[in-house]
């Protein structure tokens, strides 16, 4: 009996130490960003000065605009086509369904390095090189598998007779979609939208490959900033990104459960 307790206790201790390892960099970034004396820890006070500087920087604000535009476009396009694909997969039986599913999941299975290189080389062939179209398409396809998976899960629990009933009382397909289907799957749809956006908003590997000069998303801009400058303004920007991600994590966890959503 004694041994079980020792084993369990050791396991718990180890887990909390590993958790600390996972959270250490996040906690340190947050601390540095509110500390009036740059990088002197423990914090000696509280200030929002670094945040003010980060959010007043033209470079960062422009990059935020780029990331916002990119994230929204990728999210909306990916979810729209994912919704249609999920409808087809759930409601119809056809040959090659497994293959189609594999194709849709493929951006997750291909290493980002190769996924981005392929788009880069392909767009160079088309005569564009790294540019806004390549970047938007790259982000859209990168988040598409996540959208399909979440929407698939929420459509699977959908009671088809609801739609039939609406159709029977004379609602058209569009009306049925907006007043029955979408409201029923709204939690799944919401977490899909939030997840896709936050994945695109935080993405670095695809953006660093495909972003054209002069149209830099925020993570790439932050990276080039911290490469050359080392100050608490960078920490404040990183903290802003952490807070936005935290908000997204809470929403997704409430709506669909984080674990179901990120599982590979």
């Amino acid at each position: 009996m004694m041994r079980t307790d020792v084993g369990g206790w050791a396991l718990r201790l180890f887990t909390y130490i590993s958790m600390a390892f996972l959270f250490f960099p996040v906690a340190i970034t947050l601390l540095v960003s509110i500390n009036p004396r740059e990088f002197v820890l423990p914090p000696t006070g509280f200030t929002l000065e670094w945040f003010r500087a980060a959010w007043a920087s033209d470079t960062f604000v422009r990059a935020m605009g780029v990331s916002l535009w990119l994230g929204l476009t990728a999210t909306i396009v990916a979810n729209a086509i994912a919704f249609l694909a999920v409808l087809a997969m759930i409601r119809y039986d056809f040959r090659g369904k497994t293959l189609i599913n594999l194709l849709i999941m493929s951006p997750l299975l291909i290493p980002t390095t190769i996924f981005s290189l392929a788009l880069y080389v392909f767009f160079a062939r088309l005569g564009f090189g790294a540019g806004i179209p390549a970047l938007v398409i790259g982000h859209t396809l990168h988040v598409l598998p996540f959208a399909v998976r979440i929407l698939m899960a929420s459509m699977q629990n959908f009671d088809m007779s609801l739609e039939e009933a609406a159709r029977n009382v004379g609602a058209g397909p569009v009306r049925t979609l907006f007043s029955i289907t979408l409201p029923v799957i709204r939690t799944g749809l919401l977490s899909s939208l939030v997840l896709c956006f936050v994945l695109s908003w935080n993405d670095f590997p695809i953006s660093v490959f495909l972003a054209p000069p002069g149209w830099t998303p925020l993570p790439v801009e932050l990276f080039s900033y911290i490469k050359y400058q080392y100050d608490a303004v960078g920490a404040a920007l990183a903290s802003s990104l952490i807070l936005i991600s935290a908000l997204a994590i809470i929403v997704i966890d409430r709506m669909s459960g984080l674990r179901q959503v990120v599982n590979h």
Binding site: F14, I28, L84, R125, L222, V262, N263
Partner: protein, 287 residues
């Protein structure tokens, strides 16, 4: 009629994936046989020179291919060592405690890479927290270089791999029937024996799944070595990135990606073979 409706619904995603994933991948394979003249202009050709340039060069084989494999194996093994006990512990918890632990483990997957890297830079850079602490405690006298060095790359790869391993292991652990372990304990097995004979073999499929994901991610990594690596951190993913974007040598970058995918497939096949044998041996031993 019905399958026509399905075709219409699938058309947008299918076309997009075909045009921007499948075709580009095929194009990369084709470009890998092209040549580059004057270091910048790609010329259509059918030559193996990009492949021989890499595979025929002992320098590349040792400093890029073998180096990437070593770093990927090392980071993956450390990730597993840290993540395995975590998965065991999380599987024992329930309710609010479990969901908080899960959220904490998984959130690094959603917090951006650059943001996480920033935190590590604060901790690990020359005059950073760790060095100040170690020097204050007199563990060593001179600051140790962690960032812009191989150590930083390994630390970050370990860190990023952990959530995936915990997730795959949990899927396996939660499937184990608790009465199996209980039965072993009832016939007098110590907790350690019960773990080693019952739980551990049953987590092999989850471990295998986790290793596939994390090894592949680490082997192909380019963002981490780009951000915290040194100039001689020539991981194959980073070499691909540099050849494509900085040297504009698309044929060479393309042939490197083909080599990378082939090497990865070979390693995963070998790993699958080993896991198959491990699981079979266990079955025979317990018979």
């Amino acid at each position: 009629m019905r399958s026509k409706a399905a075709a219409v619904l699938l058309a947008p995603s299918f076309m997009l994936l075909l045009a921007f994933v499948i075709l580009p991948l095929l194009w990369v394979a084709r470009v890998s046989f092209n040549t580059t003249v004057d270091g910048a202009y790609m010329v259509s050709a059918l030559t193996l020179e990009n492949y021989t340039r890499f595979l025929g060069s002992p320098w590349y084989l040792v400093n890029t291919l073998w180096f990437s494999i070593r770093i990927a194996v090392l980071s993956t093994v450390i990730s597993v060592a840290l993540a395995y006990p975590m998965a065991l512990y999380i599987a024992r918890t329930s309710g609010a405690q479990k969901s908080i632990l899960m959220t904490m483990v998984l959130s690094p997957l959603l917090i951006g890479l650059v943001t996480l890297v920033y935190g590590w830079i604060v901790i690990f850079r020359g005059g950073g927290l760790l060095n100040s602490l170690m020097i204050a405690l007199r563990v060593y006298d001179e600051p140790v270089r962690y960032m812009w060095d191989l150590k930083g790359v390994v630390i970050l790869l370990v860190y990023i791999g952990m959530p995936y391993i915990v997730l795959s292991l949990l899927d396996s652990i939660e499937r184990i029937n608790p009465s199996l372990v209980e039965a072993a304990r009832n016939v007098g097995a110590s907790p350690w024996t019960a773990f080693w004979k019952i739980t551990f073999p049953l987590t092999m499929p989850g471990l295998h799944a986790g290793l596939i994901i994390v090894f592949s991610l680490n082997f192909a990594a380019f963002a981490v070595p780009l951000m915290v690596g040194a100039n001689d951190t020539q991981m194959i993913g980073l070499v691909i990135y540099r050849e494509a974007l900085l040297n504009n040598d698309l044929p060479f970058a393309s042939s490197l990606s083909v080599i990378m995918v082939a090497a990865n497939a070979l390693i995963l096949t070998g790993m699958g073979f080993v896991f198959g044998r491990l699981i079979l041996n266990r079955l025979e031993a317990t018979r």
